[in-house]
């Protein structure tokens, strides 16, 4: 049997997705038995020039993790798209933007000013900032361009499949590898995880209580039997795809939404804001005075980081408009 050619690449990411590949433990040996890994910068010595020399579509499946933050990320996304029969957005950053896309609340100038001028530990009297090209005696040298906006993989190239999660859990990764290596694939564009919301499968007791205040996770020890939302702790379960095996819930921590939205939801953050509004007694706002409503809403610290922690780049709003 011919072995499949596979590649792994990382763009704007933390490295957790690389570890997630190895989290399938000894089953990685089954993958190696059935596939040649042609490229994996974190683990193997392959240069971009080698990739450029490959015939188009030479790679059967490319697992691309990380968001598109720089021109290098975009160039590699386009190159790997050209060289791959199937391109997979692996993990939340490639799928929805994830944590790197929270930088879309700023732009390049604001980020550079903070990072290279204003941080308390920085001394940069000449205000030197990274430049895409620079002339030295020997010639011109280049670094990638830093973009204003972080994008998802499918905002720059056509994507065939998505593997959700920050990072994807071993069961999801193993299942996806099996699908690709056996050719048992769903229609193009599918997210390779169950379609139900995490909340629908949650083992905790839910009473749909109206709550009067919001607690951050460190402010209250949650009862491990009861629904987090009933206890006033924001849990993204109602707006988030299942498939993770409730790892956070089992650890007595609420879901933060890393598997992204369910198929019937258009915007994960908006769906969750609506779910929270319905338990926060804000739906009865006609009877509440404005001050009380404001007081309730102000209990939600960092709304973007709470409701759009993983999905900002792929949401309706995508980024903050900076004038």
């Amino acid at each position: 049997m011919n072995k499949a050619n596979i590649a792994f690449y990382w763009a704007a990411s933390c490295g957790g997705c690389e570890i997630a590949v190895l989290d399938i433990n000894e089953k990685i040996l089954d993958v190696i038995e059935k596939a040649n890994i042609l490229m994996w910068p974190v683990a193997m010595d392959t240069k971009y020039e080698d990739l450029k020399k490959m015939k188009d579509k030479f790679i059967d499946v490319c697992f691309f993790n990380g968001a598109i933050r720089t021109s290098e990320n975009e160039e590699l996304a386009k190159l790997l798209r050209k060289k791959s029969k199937i391109l997979v957005a692996f993990g939340s950053c490639a799928h929805e933007g994830c944590i790197p896309a929270l930088a879309n609340l700023f732009n390049k100038k604001l980020i550079f000013d903070r990072a290279y001028k204003e941080t308390e530990t920085t001394i940069n009297k000449d205000n030197i900032l990274p430049m895409p090209s620079f002339e030295v005696k020997e010639g011109e040298i280049y670094i990638p361009e830093f973009y204003d906006t972080v994008k998802t993989l499918d905002q720059v190239v056509d994507v065939d499949y998505y593997i959700p999660g920050c990072p994807p859990t071993p069961n999801i990764v193993e299942d996806a590898f099996n699908k690709f290596l056996t050719g048992d694939l769903p229609p193009k564009g599918a997210v390779l995880a169950p379609v139900k919301a995490l909340c629908d499968e949650c083992p905790r007791k839910k009473k749909d209580k109206m709550i009067e205040t919001i607690y951050r996770v460190y402010e209250k020890e949650a009862d491990p039997e009861k629904c987090f939302l009933d206890q006033g702790i924001i849990c993204m379960g109602p707006a988030t795809r299942s498939g993770c095996g409730h790892q956070c819930i089992k650890g007595n921590m609420p879901c933060t939404g890393c598997f992204g939205k369910t198929p019937e939801v258009t915007d994960q953050g908006a769906k969750m804001i609506s779910a929270v509004a319905s338990v926060l007694a804000v739906e009865n706002e006609i009877e509440l005075d404005e001050k009380k409503v404001e007081e309730l809403i102000s209990k939600i610290k960092d709304p973007v980081g709470t409701f759009y922690r993983y999905s900002l780049a792929s949401s309706f709003i995508k980024r903050k408009v900076i004038k």
Binding site: V42, T46, K47, E138, G139
Partner: protein, 35 residues
């Protein structure tokens, strides 16, 4: 002048690149020690 590009640096897990400029005799010119 010859330019050698190592991209990406896989010994650094794929982070960054190195560009080396060789002079006509195939050597890297070193800066004087006081610069």
């Amino acid at each position: 002048m010859k330019r050698i590009t190592i991209d990406p640096i896989t010994r650094l897990e794929g982070h960054g690149k190195i560009e080396i400029f060789l002079n006509d005799s195939g050597n890297v010119e070193c800066l004087p020690p006081d610069t």
